[in-house]
């Protein structure tokens, strides 16, 4: 299984998220995460999907099936492109007076912050790409993680692209 990042710009009609998640379910596409939010254009939202696919043909089907939806304007598999991906995670970790300082040291290089402190736990906010957040969670695991909430990844193409790294072309229009 390969992880792919697919983005879609969609018309912000009622039910559009339902159309898309329904499509993923009935075509047996595995979704790792979905994020949705508004864009620079009013009435247009952007969705970022992280999906698990077996091969290139499957991601081609994902892109084409999404494109068939009337409310979907544009779909891109941006996995191979120069992109920035970010996710925000909130991690509630058990603490004792002894471990609190230690945790502070661990999270510092991740540029994470403590946003809530209680008697026996702290909540840490961390922003980064998938690997960074996974690494952070692994480092905190020995202390006892009480709860994790993640937003899922959102992504944007970098302003300048490497040559030859344009979005993979499928026969949508050719």
């Amino acid at each position: 299984m390969k992880r792919r990042i697919v983005t879609a710009t969609v018309l912000n009609q009622s039910g559009v998220l339902n159309r898309i998640t329904g499509l993923f379910t009935r075509r047996q596409f595995n979704i790792e995460s979905i994020t949705v939010g508004s864009t620079e254009t009013e009435g247009v939202s952007k969705m970022t999907f992280v999906i698990q696919v077996e091969d290139d043909r499957m991601v081609e089907q994902v892109v084409k099936q999404l494109n068939k939806q009337i409310d979907v304007l544009k779909v891109n598999d941006i996995t191979e492109q120069a992109i920035v991906t970010r996710e925000l995670a909130l991690i509630k970790v058990m603490t004792t007076p002894q471990t609190r300082a230690e945790i502070n040291v661990i999270i510092e290089p991740f540029r994470a912050t403590i946003i809530d402190v209680a008697k026996d736990s702290v909540t840490i906010q961390v922003v980064g790409n998938f690997d960074k957040i996974e690494a952070m969670i692994e480092l905190l695991r020995p202390y006892g993680i009480k709860e994790v909430a993640r937003t899922g990844q959102t992504a944007i193409k970098r302003g300048s692209q490497r040559l030859g790294a344009e979005s993979k072309q499928f026969s949508i229009l050719n």
Binding site: L11, S14, G15, L23, R26, N67, D71, S171, L173, N174
Partner: protein
């Protein structure tokens, strides 16, 4: 005052009254349909659509009142398939809408343009489990090309206009519009719109010239080319172009089930239908080809058999209006996203070199001669295959023929011999029992002067036989042929072949007396048990202008052959004529 003057004055009064009458959503609904040139609609009233039906009463469009919503939508499918116009359906909320689900799915699978209107409870109570409320938008999302719920009366003209556009362009399909009752009752004014604003829907019609050039190269090198022509040829009205292309290139043609009629069955280059019950020659061609040109077919599993063995040595070119079909099931080397007619016109306009395929054609001709369709020769009833040939002869091969799904469908596909487009209406993708008879009603309404033959199995007919009432009411000259083997024939066949003759729930020992049933509706009915009787009755009744039901007792154990067993490759046919 003269009569004329009086009439004119009354007319003027009427008009003045009309103008003074405030318009509600329902009146607007009827006007939008007239704007889209809707001549006939199929439906069934109910609580949530009372305002719409009231508007229809005041400003009539021909409405066909089926006896069940499922039949209404199948009739609309039959109408759409033979007329080339979208079928329009109207049903009430809740059960009215859910009864349409089978037909909507059927139309989605077989790319039939429908615009389906359902009533809905008033917007204020949506979501409260109100009487006859169902989440029709949620239910039909995966089975429509697109669907809408009208949230404001002003949106109605735009939505209806978009729906007709989406249903009929690109790859056709069903579009549903859900109209809450209060929207239909809202009084106001709304403007009609002509322009469309659908930035997410731009079907591509013209072929990419680079891909067309690749096809040209592949054709020049091919030694074993074959064309697979699907229903896309019919939707695009491309059969004339297909014929020209194939004759110029001298390439043998295989049809899919739904593509029958897109290429003349009597043509020397025609190999027959491919797939599970296709001809040996057609499947051999698909198996051995070195160049497979798919025009408007979707490589359905009933056609390809086990994909590991399908066209494995072939360069695959695929012309399809729907890009998502290209490469979905079969890896494709030359993808051409285009309307079949546009693509063929482009190809014909270029000087393509015909492939050097004489040897290949000879081999397939030989195959056709050596492995024809055949049937067993015992005489415990009418041979279903001979019966279909007889129907072909009596109707000059010119009738519109509709079927359900199963044995009778395959025999019709194999033996009727469709030479022209738009005379074949069948439930292919979904395989819906009970489709044949109501779809024949719709086809007859679209083509009042044509002979329309509804072929149904005895089991499938019993799923929608209530529409005999509609045939009687409209005096539609539909010819109902029941292939009666007292069983769910295809289920029985599979149980015999793959389940050691354990006929679990597939035999139907008790049936109505179909002749009396016809009589109960005031229709002619016959039962025939021999081929002589069948011929006599059919010669008398298939050519006149009256409805008729003929219960044909066919050989109960006859099988549809040849056959590819499930999971097997296209080269592993069983039941080929013994040498």
């Amino acid at each position: 005052m003269s009569q004329n003057a009086k009439a004119a004055e009354m007319k003027f009064d009427d008009q003045a009254k009309k103008a003074a009458e405030p318009k509600n959503g329902a009146d607007l609904f009827i006007e939008t349909l007239k704007n889209e040139n809707v001549e006939v609609m199929f439906g069934y009233p109910g609580g949530a659509v009372l305002p719409l039906y009231d508007a229809l009463y005041k400003n009539p469009i021909r409405h066909i009142l089926a006896r069940h919503e499922q039949a209404a939508i199948h009739a609309a499918e039959g109408y759409a398939r033979v007329s080339g116009k979208p079928g329009v359906v109207l049903a009430t909320s809740g059960p009215g809408a859910t009864n349409l689900v089978t037909g909507i799915t059927d139309a989605m699978m077989d790319s039939i343009p429908l615009v389906v209107f359902t009533g809905q409870v008033a917007t204020g109570v949506i979501g409260s489990d109100a009487f006859q409320e169902a989440d029709v938008i949620g239910i039909t999302m995966p089975i429509t090309k697109h669907n809408y719920q009208v949230r404001s009366m002003e949106d109605l003209p735009r939505i209806v206009h978009e729906a007709f556009h989406i249903a009929t362009t690109g790859r056709p399909g069903p579009v549903l519009i859900d109209i809450p009752k209060d929207i239909a009752q809202t009084v106001g004014s709304a403007e009609f719109v002509d322009e469309l604003n659908l930035p997410g829907y731009q079907p591509n019609f013209k072929p990419n010239s680079l891909q067309v050039k690749k096809l040209r190269g592949a054709l020049a090198q091919a030694k074993k080319p074959v064309v697979l022509a699907g229903a896309g040829v019919l939707h695009a009205k491309a059969s004339e172009e297909l014929l020209q292309f194939v004759e110029k290139m001298q390439i043998p043609v295989v049809n899919t089930l739904l593509g029958l009629g897109g290429f003349p069955a009597s043509h020397p280059l025609f190999l027959g239908m491919g797939g599970m019950h296709g001809t040996h020659a057609a499947n051999t061609a698909l198996y051995e080809a070195d160049l497979l040109i798919n025009i408007g077919a979707r490589f359905d599993d009933r056609l390809t058999g086990n994909l590991a063995h399908f066209a494995k040595n072939a360069t695959v070119a695929h012309i399809d209006i729907d890009p998502a079909e290209i490469g979905k099931n079969v890896p494709t080397h030359i993808p051409i996203v285009a309307d079949a007619r546009e693509a063929l016109k482009k190809i014909l306009s270029l000087d393509f070199e015909a492939p050097n395929a004489g040897e290949w054609r000879d081999k397939l001709d030989q195959d056709k001669k050596e492995n024809p369709l055949w049937n067993t020769e015992n005489d415990d009833g009418i041979s279903p295959q001979s019966l279909m040939k007889l129907i072909h002869d009596i109707t000059d091969g010119d009738a519109v023929v509709t079927t359900d799904v199963g044995q009778h469908q395959m025999w019709t596909a194999q033996y009727y011999g469709f030479n022209k487009p738009d005379q074949w209406v069948t439930s292919g993708g979904l395989g819906t029992m009970g489709f044949g008879f109501p779809s024949a009603i719709g086809a007859q309404i679209a083509k009042p002067d044509k002979t329309v033959v509804a072929v149904a199995g005895d089991a499938g007919f019993q799923m929608t036989l209530q529409e005999l009432g509609l045939v009687a009411e409209l005096k539609l000259p539909v010819k109902i042929i029941i292939y009666n083997n007292m069983a769910l024939g295809m289920v029985r066949q599979w149980q015999e072949t793959f389940y050691e003759e354990r006929y679990s729930q597939s035999l139907i020992p008790v049936q109505p007396d179909f002749v009396k049933l016809a009589d109960a509706y005031g229709l002619r009915g016959y039962v025939v048990t021999t081929e002589e009787e069948a011929e006599k009755v059919m010669r008398e009744t298939l050519t006149d202008n009256e409805p008729v039901l003929i219960d044909c007792r066919i050989k109960p154990k006859e099988m549809v052959y040849p056959m590819i067993a499930p999971g097997k490759g296209i080269h592993e046919m069983i039941g080929v004529k013994p040498q």
